[in-house]
């Protein structure tokens, strides 16, 4: 039996901070911990609105912004829960971005899908293609190279030519999702958002998914935002029978994250999962022990920020325990009186600072500055070595 091949490149993501997660459960935990947490008593609420009401009633304070949210996403009026409630334009923009960053993923999926096609997946083959041809016109973005993949998805719904709309979506396979996203949305209207709320699937393909879907899909599309609308709540569970394949996307995601800018997280999660674009995940549920924060993978090219770690949305100041760039901890420790080395040729004096540049001639004045400040507290002993050339004396003031 053909296993369902699911595209994981588009995982669930948090509306407030754009971070991505493996499944919606974790996303919800993240939102509760980061965005819906009362800053006074740390109680976790279930929505932003609920949190503001709690703070107002219990602590008599007004909350105007969602904590840890990116600018433009801070409104407490929008009802978000997991992936539900995200305005369609934001949703589209998110996946549109994903487009640009993951061409490699598309290629990968394409390859594996073609294998599927070759395999025992007869049905889609027969049925999937015809729609394709019609689609050709519909989706100019359609990559001819991706012709195969769609068929590769052995998904029962395919044969049912119900929603011409949906077909359009389903065919441009998961592989093409990245490419086709944008044109698709205007066509699609709403359906995608719903299924995409599910942890596993990528957008349109999701409809393809479980046979059960078709019946509910039509009902769903209409409702946006999805919030506690009865029908919607059924969708996620149905779709979760998609096998989750994080690794499929992970290599791609790695690339994605590599290409994107330095990690922008102030995450308190304890694992540094690949999760893409933002490069960080708050996965508190995965913590093995509470402890120091570990952020997501940041990339080679160092941050442009001077003394601030890349923690933008949380306005945390950063305090470096060791901030002396000029000297290492051992060098500073060595300069203490108790570690001074005495050999036969050394003189001991309490009032002089000796600077020498052992390898060359003259004094390394660039090293004078950091040490001078230091000498205000310490008296240094002189070390004389045979190679020493020029000595200067600095009287501490």
């Amino acid at each position: 039996m053909g296993k369902k091949k699911k595209r994981v490149s588009s995982k669930v993501w948090c509306y407030y901070c754009d971070r991505e997660f493996d499944d919606e459960k974790i996303l919800v935990q993240h939102q509760k911990a980061k965005h819906f947490k009362c800053h006074v008593c740390h109680k976790k609420l279930s929505t932003a609105g609920g949190m503001t009401i709690h703070v107002l009633q219990v602590h008599k304070e007004t909350v105007t912004k969602v904590p840890n949210a990116k600018p433009g996403r801070e409104s407490t009026d929008i009802e978000i829960y997991g992936m539900q409630g995200i305005p369609p334009d934001i949703l589209a923009a998110h996946y549109g971005e994903e487009d640009d960053e993951a061409p490699s993923k598309v290629a990968k999926v394409e390859i594996t899908s073609t294998q599927l096609v070759g395999g025992a997946v007869p049905r889609p083959l027969g049925i999937g293609f015809p729609p394709q041809s019609t689609l050709g016109a519909m989706q100019p973005v359609y990559n001819p190279g991706l012709a195969m993949p769609p068929a590769g998805w052995p998904i029962p719904p395919r044969p049912q030519p119900w929603f011409p709309q949906h077909q359009a979506v389903s065919v441009p396979p998961p592989a093409a999702v990245g490419l086709v996203q944008q044109p698709l949305f205007p066509v699609q209207n709403v359906p995608p958002p719903v299924p995409s709320a599910t942890p596993s699937a990528s957008q349109p393909p999701v409809q393809i998914a479980p046979p059960g879907l078709p019946s509910t899909v039509p009902a769903v599309p209409v409702t946006q935002p999805l919030f506690p609308v009865g029908g919607n709540s059924h969708i996620p569970p149905q779709v979760t029978n998609f096998p989750r394949g994080p690794s499929l996307s992970s290599p791609g995601e790695q690339k994605v994250s590599l290409e994107s800018s330095y990690s922008v997280n102030n995450s308190t999660g304890n694992s540094y999962q690949v999760p893409p674009i933002q490069g960080g995940t708050l996965v508190n549920s995965h913590s093995y022990a509470s402890g120091p924060n570990t952020g997501g993978p940041s990339i080679g090219p160092p941050p442009v920020i001077a003394n601030k770690a890349p923690t933008t949305h949380a306005s945390n100041e950063v305090y470096l325990v060791w901030d002396d760039e000029a000297m290492s901890m051992e060098e500073r420790r060595m300069s203490l009186a108790k570690y001074q080395v005495h050999d036969e040729t050394s003189q001991v004096s309490d009032n002089y600072l000796l600077l020498f540049r052992p390898n060359g001639f003259g004094v390394d004045l660039s090293r004078l500055t950091p040490l001078v400040g230091f000498t205000l507290q310490f008296f240094f002993k002189i070390q004389l070595f045979s190679q020493c050339c020029i000595i200067i004396e600095v009287l501490p003031m």
Binding site: G2, K3, K5, V8, T112, Q115, A120, P243, R244, G245, P246, S247, L248, Q254, K255, L258, S263, N265, N266, T268, N270, S271, Y272, Y288, A289, P292, N293, T294, G295, G296, P297, S298, I299, G300, P301, P303, A309, S315, N316, E317, V318, Y319, L320, V321, W322, D324, M327, S328, M329, E330, E331, R332, R333, M334, L336, Y339, V341, P358, N359, F385
Partner: protein, 341 residues
């Protein structure tokens, strides 16, 4: 034998050094542990038996030490000397000198030479078989852009990390010039560099709670794998406290690695899956050094204040040797989508 501080922290070695620990290493042949300290001594312990087997006193703080074989080793001193230590006879002599404190020492089995890095901005290679005295033992001097802070060897490669965030990669077979001259991809002072046991790259840590995973392969494909991650940080009262990552140690078998920071925690990471595998409970003070035993079953942790906040009263310096459980260091298999039938 002293009772364990707590089963989780591991067994504390008796007779620890009386001042800070600069480095500790397990032998490649046994469970002997060589420890260098700011109290001017180099001590040899049998970690499993928790017994001090030997002690050498130097003229100044000892900043690094390494094994040659199970019966001898080398030390790098703040008195600018590189010393050869013979454990069985308790004898030592000076292999050579630098012009400033010697910060690192390594022995390369590949070329049979001792390599030392110093704050005098040079790297020197020594032949340990020569009689004592520089004229017999010094093989070469290689100048570095800045003071050497950390070095690491794997196979025929040597990575040197200096002040000013320079990183030089040498091929030991041709030391005349570095194979690669690089810059640390971290924006802050380099603290420690360690090569992967599989020889494909190295991990580099900085004072800003970050570790970068780098690769020797300079091609596009090779460099695309590199990444960095934040670690050893604490967030409290609206600000992030960022601790230097003092030490990195690779598990010889699994290739996962442990990092120790000034926050007193040791974390074990899976570099390939980019996940943290484990975090040991907090040690009394900063972690100055880490070392896995040759079979990866023991981890020695030097819990020793590293003066990141100046000279201040601190917890006593101690060494913990803990047995390592597989679950703490073994990488978890990647989760792949169920393959098509």
């Amino acid at each position: 034998m002293t009772a364990a501080v707590a089963p989780v922290a591991g067994r504390e070695l008796s007779n620890p050094p009386s001042d800070g620990i600069s480095n500790l290493r397990f032998s490649n042949h046994s469970d002997h542990l060589l420890v260098s300290s700011w109290d001017k001594t180099v001590r040899l312990y049998d970690a499993s038996a928790n017994v001090l087997r030997g002690e050498f006193m130097h003229g100044g703080a000892v900043l690094d030490c390494c094994f040659h074989d199970d019966s001898s080793g080398f030390s790098a001193g703040a008195d600018n000397t590189v010393r050869r230590l013979v454990f069985n006879y308790g004898k030592e002599d000076i292999l050579g000198r630098h012009d400033a404190p010697v910060r690192c020492v390594e022995y390369s089995y590949t070329i049979g030479q001792v390599i030392t890095g110093s704050w005098d901005k040079t790297l020197k290679c020594w032949d340990p078989r020569g009689a004592s005295g520089q004229e017999h033992t010094l093989v070469g001097t290689y100048s570095q852009p800045e003071r050497v802070y950390s070095i690491s060897l794997v196979g025929h490669r040597l990575v040197v990390a200096t002040a000013g965030r320079h990183v030089n990669v040498y091929d030991l077979r041709n030391m005349s010039q570095p194979e690669q001259r690089r810059e640390s991809s971290l924006k802050y002072q380099t603290r420690c560099v360690r090569c992967y046991p599989n020889g494909t790259g190295f991990a580099l840590s900085s004072v800003e709670g970050r570790v970068a995973m780098e690769f020797f392969d300079l091609s596009e494909a090779g460099q695309s794998k590199k990444y960095a991650f934040k670690c050893h940080r604490k967030s409290e009262a609206g600000r992030d406290i960022v601790y230097p990552v003092n030490s990195i140690a690779f598990h010889p078998i699994y290739g996962t690695f442990a990092t120790g920071g000034c926050d007193g925690y040791v974390n074990v990471w899976d570099g390939n899956n980019k996940k943290r595998l484990y975090q040991y409970s907090k040690y009394p003070t900063s972690i100055a050094a880490l070392s896995f035993s040759r079979d990866g079953r023991l981890l020695a942790v030097a819990s020793s204040y590293t003066f990141e906040e100046g000279d201040k009263p601190h917890e006593p310096d101690s060494i913990f040797v803990r047995s390592v459980n597989e679950v703490e260091v073994k990488p978890k298999p990647k989760v792949y989508p169920t393959p098509p039938a």
